[in-house]
C-alpha cells in the first residue's frame, strides 16, 4: 500500500499492538486526538483507553511511568509531543532507562520506545524544531534510531518495539508527509544498528539520516561524481563498519546533519573514520551542519537549515581538496 511516514508509523504501532498485548502507548493527546500529528489515530478505538493512554501533561511523568511499566512486563511506547519538550524526560532516560540493565546485571530491563517528532524545516513554533540527537546518542544503554522514509519507518519502528533495550525513536517532522512509497501490509522488520547503502559509488561517500536523506539525494543527483550515499538509520549504536567499508574505497566523506556543528554527531563520525581509515583518506572529512546558534524562528530559519547548495559545496570542497 502507498503510505506516507505518518501512515507507516501508525501501521507499525497497530500491528505490534495486535501482535503483543503487552504493548501500550502513552503520551499527551495520543488517544482521543490521535496525537498532534495523527500518528496514533484510530488506535484508541481499536485497543481501548487502557492501552492507548492519554496522560497528564508531564514529560518526566510519562517517561518515568513508562519505565515502571517496562519493569513490570509491559512494552510501553511513550510519545514526547516534540523533541524540545523531551529534556524533562532526560533524568528518567539517562538515570534509569539507560542504566537499569547494567546496574542489575540484566535482572531488570527496560524495553521502552520513546518516540518523538524532531528536526526543523517546517517553519514551526519555537521549541518545535530541535535536533539534539547527540544528547541521547552519548548515553550508553540507549539506542537512537531515525527513519528517513515511510518504509524505513515501519521496519525500524517495529524492530524498536521488539528490541529488549530502550530506544529513542526520532521521527523527522519534515518527512512525515513529504513522500509516499509502497509499504508492505504485513510484518516488516529492519535490523537496528545497521546502516543502509542507499546508492553505491566510487568517488565520495555522503552520509546522513532522517530528513537530510532527501536533500542529500537531490544534491547528489546534481553532481557528476560517482557518489556512495549512506543512511545511518541507527545513530547509537552506530554502524561504523558500513561507513568504513565505503570510505576505504572512496577516500572521501561528507557528513550532513541539521544539528549544530559543535559536538554534533559529525564530529564523532569524523573521528571514527580517522580511527579506522585515515590511511585511505584523500581529503579531510567534511561536515555540512547547522551553525552553533539558537534555531531561528520561521522567518529566519533559512539561515539555519541545510539546503542542497550547502551539500553540493561540501562535496566539491572534498573532491577538490
Amino acid at each position: 500500500m502507498m503510505m506516507n511516514m505518518v501512515q507507516a508509523i501508525n501501521a507499525a504501532l497497530r500491528m505490534e499492538m495486535e501482535r503483543d498485548p503487552s504493548v501500550v502507548i502513552l503520551g499527551e493527546d495520543v488517544g482521543v486526538d490521535g496525537g498532534v500529528f495523527r500518528l496514533t489515530e484510530g488506535l484508541l478505538d481499536r485497543f481501548g483507553a487502557d492501552r492507548v493512554i492519554d496522560t497528564p501533561l508531564a514529560e518526566a511523568g510519562i517517561s518515568g511511568v513508562a519505565i515502571g511499566m517496562a519493569m513490570n512486563g509491559l512494552r510501553p511506547i511513550a510519545e514526547m509531543q516534540f523533541m524540545g519538550f523531551s529534556y524533562l524526560a532526560l533524568n528518567q532516560m539517562i538515570n534509569h532507562a539507560a542504566r537499569m540493565r547494567n546496574r542489575t546485571r540484566g535482572r531488570i530491563t527496560i524495553p521502552l520506545v520513546l518516540r518523538m517528532p524532531y528536526g526543523a524545516g517546517i517553519k514551526a513554533l519555537e521549541h518545535h524544531s530541535e535536533s539534539t540527537e547527540a544528547l541521547y546518542a552519548q548515553i550508553p544503554g540507549l539506542k537512537v534510531v531515525v527513519p528517513s522514509t515511510p518504509l524505513e519507518a515501519k521496519g525500524l519502528l517495529t524492530a524498536s518495539i521488539r528490541d529488549p533495550d530502550p530506544v529513542v525513536f526520532l521521527e523527522p517532522t519534515r518527512s512525515y508527509r513529504m513522500l509516499k512509497e509502497e509499504v508492505p501490509d504485513g510484518e516488516y522488520l529492519l535490523p537496528l544498528g545497521k546502516a543502509r547503502v542507499v546508492q553505491e559509488g566510487d568517488d565520495i561517500t555522503v552520509l546522513g539520516w532522517g530528513a537530510m536523506m532527501p536533500l542529500i539525494q537531490k544534491a547528489v543527483d546534481k553532481v557528476k561524481a560517482s557518489v556512495e550515499v549512506i543512511d545511518l538509520r541507527t545513530l547509537s549504536p552506530m554502524d561504523i563498519e558500513t561507513v568504513l567499508d565505503s570510505v576505504k574505497r572512496t577516500g572521501r566523506a561528507v557528513v550532513v546533519h541539521e544539528a549544530p556543528r559543535t559536538c554534533g554527531l559529525g564530529a564523532e563520525i569524523a573521528a571514527r573514520i580517522y580511527e579506522g581509515a585515515i590511511l585511505n583518506m584523500e581529503a579531510p572529512v567534511e561536515r555540512v551542519t547547522a551553525p552553533d546558534i539558537t534555531i531561528p524562528l520561521p522567518k529566519g530559519e533559512d539561515h539555519y537549515y541545510i539546503n542542497e547548495r550547502m551539500i553540493i559545496e561540501g562535496m566539491e570542497r572534498t573532491m577538490n581538496f
Partner: protein, 353 residues
C-alpha cells in the same frame, strides 16, 4: 477508616504506642505473636546491621553509607503490610523494609561496598534497586502499578521516599498520575526532618506533607513514624484500599534521622545535641521492646541481639568474598547484545588492550 479519623489538614497524627510502649487498644492493629517477633527481630537486625555498615565505612571496607538509625519502624511497618508478589521501591535509606522483604543483608552490603551484584535481588522479589536521583522512583511505582492493574492482578506497589523528595517535580508528576489513573500504589514519605542539612520547613510551606495527597484526589495520613504499630496500621489500610482497586494513599511518616545523612556528613553543623536527645527518647526500637516485654512476648532481647550479630558477621563475610567485577562484567550489560564498537573498546577476549 484511619484516613477519615486523622485529617492531615487539621494536623492530626496517628499514634498507637507511646514512648513508654503503652498502646491505645482502640487503634491497635491485629498482629500475631509470630509477626510481632519477626518484626522485632527485623528491627534489631536493621539497627545492628546499620551500625555495622557505618563501622565498615570507617574501616574503609564500604563506601559512603546513609544510616537508618531512628527510622526502623518507619521502614519496617509499611513493608509488613505487603503480601508476597507486591512491589517495593526504595530510595537509599530503607534497609529495614528491604530486610523484611527478604533481600539478603549480604546483597545490601555488597551494594554499599560498590558492586553492581548488590543490586541483583532474588528472582521474583519484586524489589527495584536503590534510586539516588531523588523522587525519580515515584513515577516507576506508578508505571509498575499500572501494569499490574492492566493485567487485573491484585498486586500493590509501595514506594518509599523522603521529605526532600516532595519538592521534586517527579513527586508531583508521579502522584498526579496515580490519582488520575487510580493505580494501586502506597506512597510512604519518610519525613526524617532533613534533606542532608535542609530542614523540612524549607522544603514546603504545607503544614504537613500528608495533606499534599488532597490535591491529587486521594487520601493522605500523618503517622508517628517511630511507632511500628501506627506505621503498620496506616500501611495496612492503604494496602487493602489499593488492592481493592480504590486507588493510592500517601503516608507521611513523621520521624527523625538520628545519624548523619551519609557517612560523609556531619550533623553537628545544622542541629543541636539537645534536639537529637529529644528524639532519642522516642526511639522506635526501645519503645517496641517495652511493649513486647510488658505483653510477655519478648523475654530475652540479648539472645536475639547475639543471634543477629552472627547473621551480620556472616553477611559481611559473604559480601567480602564476592570478587570485584571483571572488565567483561562492566561492559556486557550495556545492551542485550554488545555492539561491535563496544567490543573493540573492551579489548580482545575481554582483556585490557
Amino acid at each position: 477508616m484511619l484516613t477519615d479519623e486523622f485529617d492531615p489538614l487539621k494536623g492530626e497524627m496517628l499514634c498507637v504506642m507511646d514512648e513508654e510502649g503503652i498502646v491505645d487498644r482502640s487503634l491497635m492493629p491485629k498482629l500475631s505473636n509470630e509477626m510481632l517477633i519477626k518484626a522485632y527481630r527485623t528491627m534489631v537486625l536493621t539497627r545492628l546491621a546499620d551500625d555495622k555498615a557505618v563501622k565498615l565505612q570507617r574501616q574503609g571496607k564500604l563506601g559512603a553509607y546513609p544510616p537508618s538509625r531512628g527510622q526502623e519502624a518507619s521502614q519496617i511497618g509499611p513493608a509488613m503490610a505487603l503480601k508476597e508478589g507486591d512491589w517495593l521501591l526504595w530510595a537509599f535509606r530503607e534497609m529495614g523494609g528491604l530486610l523484611w522483604k527478604g533481600i539478603p543483608l549480604s546483597t545490601l552490603y555488597l551494594f554499599w561496598m560498590g558492586n553492581e551484584l548488590g543490586s541483583v535481588y532474588p528472582e521474583g522479589s519484586n524489589v527495584t534497586p536503590s534510586v539516588v536521583p531523588v523522587a525519580s522512583q515515584i513515577p516507576h511505582a506508578v508505571g509498575i502499578a499500572y501494569a499490574s492493574k492492566l493485567r487485573k492482578e491484585k498486586i500493590v506497589t509501595l514506594a518509599y521516599f523522603g521529605d526532600g523528595a516532595t519538592s521534586e517535580g517527579e513527586f508531583h508528576e508521579g502522584l498526579n498520575f496515580a490519582g488520575v489513573f487510580k493505580t494501586p500504589n502506597v506512597f510512604v514519605c519518610q519525613n526524617n526532618q532533613f534533606a542532608i542539612s535542609t530542614r523540612r520547613e524549607r522544603q514546603s510551606a504545607s503544614p504537613t506533607l500528608a495533606q499534599k495527597a488532597v490535591s491529587y484526589g486521594f487520601p493522605g495520613i500523618l503517622v508517628d513514624g517511630n511507632d511500628i504499630f501506627a506505621m503498620f496500621a496506616a500501611a495496612k489500610e492503604a494496602v487493602d484500599r489499593a488492592r481493592k482497586g480504590k486507588g493510592p494513599t500517601l503516608i507521611e511518616s513523621y520521624t527523625y534521622r538520628m545519624g548523619d545523612h551519609t557517612t560523609s556528613d556531619d550533623w553537628r553543623k545544622y542541629r543541636t545535641k539537645e534536639e537529637v536527645e529529644t528524639w532519642q527518647r522516642k526511639d522506635p526500637l526501645s519503645r517496641f521492646a517495652k511493649y513486647l516485654k510488658a505483653e510477655g512476648v519478648l523475654s530475652d532481647e540479648g539472645e536475639i541481639e547475639k543471634e543477629m550479630s552472627k547473621v551480620i558477621e556472616e553477611a559481611v563475610a559473604a559480601a567480602e568474598a564476592v570478587p570485584a567485577p571483571t572488565r567483561k562484567d562492566v561492559f556486557e550489560h550495556t545492551y542485550a547484545e554488545m555492539p561491535p564498537y563496544l567490543k573493540w573498546q573492551m579489548g580482545p577476549g575481554g582483556e585490557r588492550q
